[in-house]
Structures are given as structure tokens and as C-alpha cells.
Symmetry: C2
Subunit: 266 residues, 2 copies
């Protein structure tokens, strides 16, 4: 790899930043759900990691189609899944458009368990006989260890999330820990913490203030950020407890809330 | 039933009117997909039928949450499903909010085959052990013949849709055929045509002009409307072939295009 390619920019775009029920919540009249601040309109979590020649989509929530329209996402080279909960996979069928556009099957990287769950929900996508235009078709990549894509080294880490586990992903560029995405978890166990130590940007589950059986609180997420010495922390998977503006006033330097449409370069 | 209740109004609201890929389509730059007319922004098909005391939602597409927010839908008494294709069921988990609001399980009416398919995708929703706040829980109503709800008599009809069948639903109020919803089909077979003859409003699959293996064309749908002597016809499940404004100029009196947010009383 040339010196030039070592320094290529990686663009991170938050497609969705909301909790499993989204914000505003259906039928909720709380101040957050009535907020007109677009940052308080949170679709379910997904994210794009784009190098100059490779675009990776993480998770396929129900609103994937509208997220893609809003952010102008027209091409996806590979999909990573964190886990198979409804709020992360029920837009999977909309990958059909990205298959049509790339004229081929979509490489999908996830744990073997997650791939099996998604194949149960969308069996036609995993059936080689369905590789016809207009249908989503998948090249399965069950991963349990580091792999490379678009000049990046990506490592999945298993994170606890109640009865399920999820994957968090660490992205490294020429040995530099540029980004870690750990969006749905109750903790980050020691091996993953060690792996992401000194990461440039950590995007992490920060659901709300009160304890939750399967999610990190804002306080717990910030403590992990300090523990791993993340240079910058973004909280995501946000519920309707506080408006973006309210929460911002409480966060220390180096910690911010993600929001739908947030985009930055690492 | 009193004379007054015989004449109660029934409000129909189109939540989504789009083909399986939605309009605009991801990554499409055609004039329809670039249209700024809100009627050309079509989420996947769903519909609300509301009597003064009962609100019925038909289908749970991926965009259900955003459809509910836009139309102000805050309460659902029962859900009907037409079939289990992705564009009609992948928002099913968002019924959790309506379960929370009604503080109970959601009655879901569909064919036995459709219910089995949905239970495979969302097994937790059909597990009586999961009847806890925050989760969708379902009271299954496999239907194959007429039933009554909210003072209406509803009859499902099996319609051909490629390798699958779908249900179309006829709504009758005190014997008057007020509304038929047949949104995803290649034909309406003779028994269903006879049943819906002289219906006040027929909303029917009218995908596009060219023949399609599993959908009615605009011409075929209009021919069925004439054959059954529907007093008014709305075409739905629309693709990105023509703008709403273009298509309107071609349709005869008594035939219109549905669009997201269309609402009328029968």
C-alpha cells in the first residue's frame, strides 16, 4: 500500500441514531417527541463507513430506504450486521436496490448466529436460485475475527445485550484505530476495551440516564469512553428522555450525541 | 343495531401507496423519483379503516412508524394482513407501541398461511410468555370467511399474486358494500368479482402500464372496475413510471390514483 493510500480519508455518516422504537415515538406527546429540532427525529440505528473506493453499510433498519434517500446513498459495497433484532434488520429487503445498482450479490458480514437469524427471516435472499434482477441476494461472510475491506482492517467484538450478543466493530487504517462502533450493548468486556484503547472516535450505546437491562446508560458509556481513552465519543441509540439540545449542555468536552445525518471524517 | 349506527361514517386513510421498492426508488434519477410533488413520495402500502369506535390497520410495511407519525395514528384496535411479503410486514414490530397504548395484545386477522409466515419472522410476538410492556404481542385470528368488527362485516377473498396468494378485503356496513381493498394481485377471480359488484369504492393494484407477472396493470385494474361496476376506483401499489400529475390526465372520471395521506369517508 502506498504512502498516499495510508492516509486516505474515511467518511462516517450516521443514517439513524434512535432507540428501538424511534424518536418521536408513535403516540407520545412528551417534549422530546414534540420537538421540531431535526436532531430529535431519530430513525433506527444504521451507519455508513466510506473509504474513497468502498462503501460499507452497518445494519438495515426498517427506515433504511428513507435514510438512503435522505443521505443520497446510492451505492453499497458491503453490509455489516451487529445483530438480528427487528430494529436492525427489518429493512434488509431494501438491499435489493443496492444489488441492482452493483449488478451482483451483496456481501454481508456478521456473526454466524446473526446470519442464520437473518436467513430465517429473508430466506429468498440467501437462496442462490433467486439471483435475479429485482431481488436482494446475499454473499454470506460469517466472521469471527479480523478481516480486511477497502484498505481497512475490521475486527468484530462480541458484546453483551441481554439474552443476545451483538457485534461491535473496530476499524483500523494502517494500524491506526480510527473508529469503533458499539451501538447496542450493556457493557464492553475487557478484551474489546483493550482492543479499542486510544481509538480516535468511539460511537457507543448511550440510551438514557436510568439503568436498562440491555443497554448502557449515558453515564456508563462516558465511563467506558474515559476508561479506553477514546479521543472522541459519540453516544447513539438514543431514547426520548431529553432533547438533543438539553443533553448537549450536560456532556463534557469530547463527548457528543450522534444524530441522523451526522457526518464526519476520520 | 340502531338506525343511527347503520349510517355511521367510515374513514379510509391511505398510509402508503407505493410499489414494493417505494417511490422515490433508491438511486433512481428518473423524473418521477426526482418529483417534488408529495403525491409522488410513496411509502409501501398500508391503509386505515376507521369507524367511530374501531380503528383497523391493514398491513405493517417497513415505514409504518413514520406513516403513523405523519397521519397522527395513535390507536389501533385490530390489524389485517393481506400477505407476508417484506413490503407488507417488516414494520410489524412497531405494533408494540399500539399494544402499549391499548394495554393489551393486538388482534391480527389474516389467512392461516400469512399468520404462520409472520410468526416465523416475529416469533416473540406470538409467544404468550412475551406479553410484557414494550413488546408487541398478538392475538391471532386466522380467518377464511366473513367476520364482524366495529359494526362492519368483513370478508376476505383469496387473490392470485404469482407464487403467493394475497387477501383482498370487502367491507360492508348494514349490507351496503362500502369499500373493497385489493392492493396486491394479478387478477380478481370470479367469486370475488361477484362479491364486490356495485361496491362504492374499490382500491385496487394498478402498478404500471406494462404487463407484470404478479400485478395488475392500470388498464387491467380499470377493466375490473368497470366489470364489477365499482362506483369509484382508486389505483394503488404504484411504481415510478409516471408522476401522479401525468397519470391523472389519462384517467377517466371515477378513477383516481391513491397517494400517501389520501383520506375520504365512505
Amino acid at each position: 500500500m502506498s504512502t498516499t493510500s495510508l492516509s486516505f480519508p474515511v467518511q462516517i455518516t450516521v443514517m439513524g441514531s434512535g432507540t428501538s422504537q424511534g424518536v418521536p415515538m408513535i403516540g407520545c406527546d412528551c417534549p422530546v417527541c414534540r420537538s421540531t429540532d431535526p436532531r430529535d427525529h431519530r430513525t433506527r440505528c444504521s451507519l455508513v463507513v466510506a473509504t474513497p473506493d468502498t462503501t460499507i453499510l452497518i445494519d438495515t433498519p426498517p427506515e433504511l430506504r428513507l435514510q438512503a434517500l435522505r443521505t443520497g446513498l446510492k451505492h453499497v459495497d458491503a453490509v455489516f450486521l451487529t445483530h438480528a433484532h427487528a430494529d436492525h434488520i427489518m429493512g434488509f429487503d431494501d438491499l435489493r436496490r443496492f444489488c441492482d445498482i452493483k449488478k451482483g450479490a451483496m456481501p454481508v458480514y456478521a456473526s454466524p448466529v446473526t446470519l442464520a437469524s437473518v436467513a430465517n427471516v429473508f430466506p429468498y435472499a440467501f437462496d442462490p436460485k433467486n439471483r435475479i434482477p429485482g431481488y436482494v441476494s446475499v454473499d454470506s461472510h460469517p466472521v469471527t475475527d479480523s478481516f480486511t475491506l477497502g484498505g481497512l482492517t475490521i475486527t468484530p467484538y462480541t458484546l453483551p445485550h441481554g439474552r443476545f450478543n451483538t457485534y461491535g466493530y473496530l476499524f483500523q487504517r494502517a494500524g491506526e484505530k480510527i473508529f469503533a462502533y458499539m451501538n447496542d450493548c450493556k457493557d464492553i468486556p475487557a478484551p474489546a476495551r483493550e482492543a479499542i484503547r486510544d481509538v480516535n472516535v468511539l460511537m457507543i450505546d448511550g440510551l438514557r440516564d436510568e439503568a436498562h437491562p440491555t443497554h448502557l446508560t449515558v453515564g456508563e458509556a462516558m465511563a467506558i469512553g474515559r476508561d479506553v481513552r477514546a479521543k472522541h465519543v459519540y453516544l447513539t441509540h438514543i431514547t426520548h428522555q431529553k432533547t438533543h439540545a438539553q443533553r448537549e449542555t450536560e456532556l463534557p468536552k469530547g463527548v457528543q450525541l450522534a444524530y441522523d445525518g451526522l457526518s464526519f471524517t476520520v
